[in-house]
């Protein structure tokens, strides 16, 4: 019981410590609060944002975009990862191109995205999708390629092929690696969204962040930073929970 408590507390020492030090710095005006507002000021602004419903309004939109982008981009990355892990031809055909696209910054893609997808939701979702696609792709590929060849051979011996082979052996074997990719993709998802939400919108946490930056509202900037951090942690917890469910058999999870 006591030990369990301690284990729960330890991860929060750094975040809470940071806030305390920050309050200390602000109270003593070691850095001008005009540049970095005190935690309490931020809290007040946060309260107002929540109460006015504004925060929820922005978050709802961002979450929707994030989720749709994740589904589309993650799906494509997953399928490409599987395909390139299994077919040498597919790998040869697409991997070089994918690795090339992967390195193009979202910002640089913007003009093309507007031409192709316009300035509405399509463009934003496309950016998120392309952002999350790569970590999922790479890790799925890595997972598939690293499955013990003995398992696949054995599976074929027992008549598994096509979908059955995939479902029974390839997918579960690659799953630990795919989850690493997913957790990474969830991070990318939010980062891309802030860029995506600068395109012609007036709703979304990215919009909130960008306008705050443009209008130099440092309290709002900090709120969005914290929001992103919390989003990230929550997404990560969900992914971890899924991981634990899906990888019950894995040595790290057997108790």
């Amino acid at each position: 019981m006591n030990k369990k408590m301690v284990l729960k507390i330890i991860p929060w020492i750094i975040p809470i410590g940071t806030i305390l030090i920050w309050q200390l710095i602000a109270s003593n005006e070691w850095i001008s609060t005009r540049l970095v507002p005190a935690p309490f000021t931020v809290l007040t602004s946060f309260y107002q944002l929540v109460m006015s419903g504004e925060l929820f309004y922005h978050m709802e939109m961002s979450l929707t975009r994030a989720l749709i982008g994740l589904l589309i981009g993650g799906g494509i990355g997953f399928i490409l990862g599987i395909a390139n892990g299994l077919s040498k031809f597919s790998y040869l055909f697409t991997d070089t191109s994918l690795q090339m696209i992967r390195n193009i910054p979202n910002l640089a893609l913007m003009p093309l995205v507007i031409i192709w997808f316009g300035i509405d939701e399509g463009a934003k979702i496309f950016l998120v999708a392309i952002g999350v696609m790569f970590p999922i792709y790479i890790n799925t590929l890595h997972g598939i390629k690293n499955i013990d060849a003995g398992f696949i051979e054995m599976g074929k011996m027992y008549g598994l092929k096509g979908w059955a082979l995939f479902k029974e052996i390839l997918l579960p074997g690659a799953l630990p690696s795919i989850f690493v990719g997913l957790r990474y993709a969830l991070g990318i998802m939010w980062i891309t969204l802030i860029v995506a939400e600068t395109i012609a919108t007036s709703r979304g946490v990215g919009y909130l962040a960008m306008t705050a930056q443009q209008f130099m509202q440092s309290d709002i900037i900090l709120i969005t930073i914290i929001l992103y951090a919390v989003f990230g942690k929550v997404a990560d917890l969900i992914a971890q929970w899924g991981e634990r469910k899906a990888l019950r058999w894995h040595k790290s999870y057997i108790k």
């Binding site: 003009p111 600068t198 930056q213 130099m216």
Partner: protein, 308 residues
Amino acid sequence: GCGSSPNSDKTSGQNENGSSDKIIRMGYQKGNTINILKESGILEEKLKEKGYTVEWKEFVHGNAVVEGLVTKNIDFGHAADGAGIYAQAGNKPLVYVGADLPNPEGVGVLVHKDSGLTSIKDLKGKKIGVLQGGNHHYLAVLALEEAGISAEDVEWVYLNDAAQGRTAFETNKIDVLASYDPFLAGTEIDLETINLTEGKDYGYPNRTFYYTNEEFNQEHPELVELILAATDESDKWANENKPEVVKLVSKMLGIDEAIIAKAIERREYGVNKINEEIIAAQQKQADVYYELGLIPAKIDVAEYMPIN
């Protein structure tokens, strides 16, 4: 109360690197008047006798310049009118020390010639692309207001930069593009457009401003004077040598000379001191920004605009 001079480590560090080493850090954006000043070499010459050297820092947009000033990473910079308003609304310390001459023709509201839209009155319910809070956004609001259309009666599409606006406009993702030079001139030249605000200024001078950080203004008023004078000098030269300036700016921005020529022809370079008239215009703009919800509170711009 912006008179108190903070004594943080940061500041003293800056002092060591800055003033005591006699370096002046100038922030500029590509192609604006300080960039011309930089190319002219006038400032270096004037400062040499005082024992100062100049460090030029390039920024991608005006807000970044202001951010550099506010965080005391630069001493002097040049940015649009909106940037000063946001800084003050965000309670960031800053001083307006001078303004460019008015340039009302440098902003406009464009529609495609074949769009059937012929006057501001037609814009009700249309999609207008702007950079949120930019000078052209302000102009568009003023124009709409005069035509009896409220800002809520059109669909604002907030874009990230001029290029995005141009792309969205050209591919008809938006109906109307409010823009500013040289992008306004570029769009006018490249596409078949009508500028619905041409010839009217709606009382908006469209000035850009010279800003310093608080400390620099307090400790070195004579240097501020000197920089403004140098800028004015280079501006005068620019007015007299527009073809040369066109070449120079065109090369700096990588934009066609024809476009730059059009933009430069319709403006006059020169520096004004801050005066009551300038303050009044800026105050009106700040009030409209408050009404539009661009800034969270009413501000008194005079606090940041000392007259001397």
